[in-house]
């Protein structure tokens, strides 16, 4: 599948944040969105996901087939918040998202092992540290299969080893034909990724 943005513009509270964004991503390609605070990185991701309306231009998915007719159905959105309940255990949280999202991929335990959190699935999510919470949220990307990953500062709070492990997960996802759009301030270790600098294009 291909994800194409043509002359995309976004606004927040009636004020234009950015305009004229163009990119085209095919299988196995990644886009790194960088730029200063307030440049509209998160707004761009939310517009691509379909959580905010497109203010100008257009955004389309080609070749998604029946399974993934729209961006919303094809994407995993990892926002600033982790979308996990503190009162439930990590495994319960993951199992819920696995059942709710459909398209099962890894089991909760396997996904936790992939992010180096094996053996803590029974703990309430609220007991985890910031970095562990982020890793559990990353495990959420692995419990159901989605070709497009939208990541908003995915490595915030992660230590060096976890960053590298996450880099490997992203490369595997790209090798399997996935697409990644990540907004970040930190290098993610993705070679050959397109880069979009926001705040300078205007």
């Amino acid at each position: 599948m291909r994800l194409i943005a043509e002359n995309l513009g976004g606004e927040r509270g009636g004020e234009a944040v950015f305009s004229g964004i163009n990119f085209a991503l095919g299988k196995g390609q990644a886009l790194i969105v960088t730029g200063p605070n307030g440049a509209g990185k998160s707004t761009l991701l939310r517009i691509v996901a379909g959580l905010l309306p497109v203010a100008a231009g257009r955004l389309l998915v080609e070749g998604g087939g029946e399974d993934f007719p729209s961006v919303a159905s094809a994407c995993h959105y990892l926002g600033h918040q982790n979308a996990m309940k503190t009162a439930l255990s990590v495994a319960e949280n993951l199992r819920f998202w696995r059942d709710f999202s459909g398209a099962d991929f890894l089991s909760a335990e396997e996904a936790l092992a992939m992010v180096g959190l094996d053996g803590i699935g029974h703990l309430p999510f609220g007991y985890l540290s910031t970095g562990q919470r982020r890793r559990a949220a990353i495990a959420k990307l692995l419990v159901s299969r989605r070709p497009l990953w939208l990541l908003d500062e995915p490595t915030a709070g992660l230590d060096k080893a976890s960053e590298e492990r996450f880099g490997r997960l992203m490369r595997e996802h790209l090798d399997e034909g996935g697409i990644i759009i990540a907004a970040t301030h930190l290098p993610l270790g993705l070679e050959g990724a397109q880069e979009l600098r926001m705040g300078e294009t205007r």
Partner: protein
Amino acid sequence: MLALFLRDIRLSIRAGGGALTGVIFFLAVIATIPFGVGPDINLLARIGPAILWIGALLACLLGLDRLFQADREDGSLDLLVLGDDRQMLALTVLTKCLAHWAGSVLPLVIAAPLLGLFMNMEPIGIGATALTLLVGTPAITFIGAAGAAVAVALPRGGLLISVLVLPLTIPVLIFGVSASYGAVANPDPFLQPFLILAALTLFLAVLGPVAAALALRHGTD
């Protein structure tokens, strides 16, 4: 959908879920009424169904503001909205309503017969009031969901939800109370208001979630 239902039930039971807050509020309201009204036992029996209904209605409204706000704060709401293509958002809302009803409102219905004793009500009146509460309270939850969805982005939305929702729940209250009276006062009918109450619940089970889904879809920022 079953997964969502079970998750919300679990959350309402575990710490901070607030399943008991409503029951305790209900108990407090009903327990203070006899002190305020005075020791006229016949008067208490006469106003009993109405007081039980008003108490249950207010207790229902108490927990409604957390229906979507908790999900919004931790980011789950974004993912529930994004899942629209696979799990229709209105159905997601309906499931959340049912889980909220089973977790926070059903305990009120179960507590109602006990509190009916405080009001010196006859057994048949207690039974009728509990039955009308069982059938009518889902309607309050469904209306409340629409209010909660509109006010989801507001930091102190609880009061606003009550103000928005309360006028819309008046028909439910009227038919609930009149059916309860119909069971004890002889010339008044029971079945007609009871059936209208059931119809209101079914009607709002469709309209409420659809309206709430629409509000949530346009309320993301």
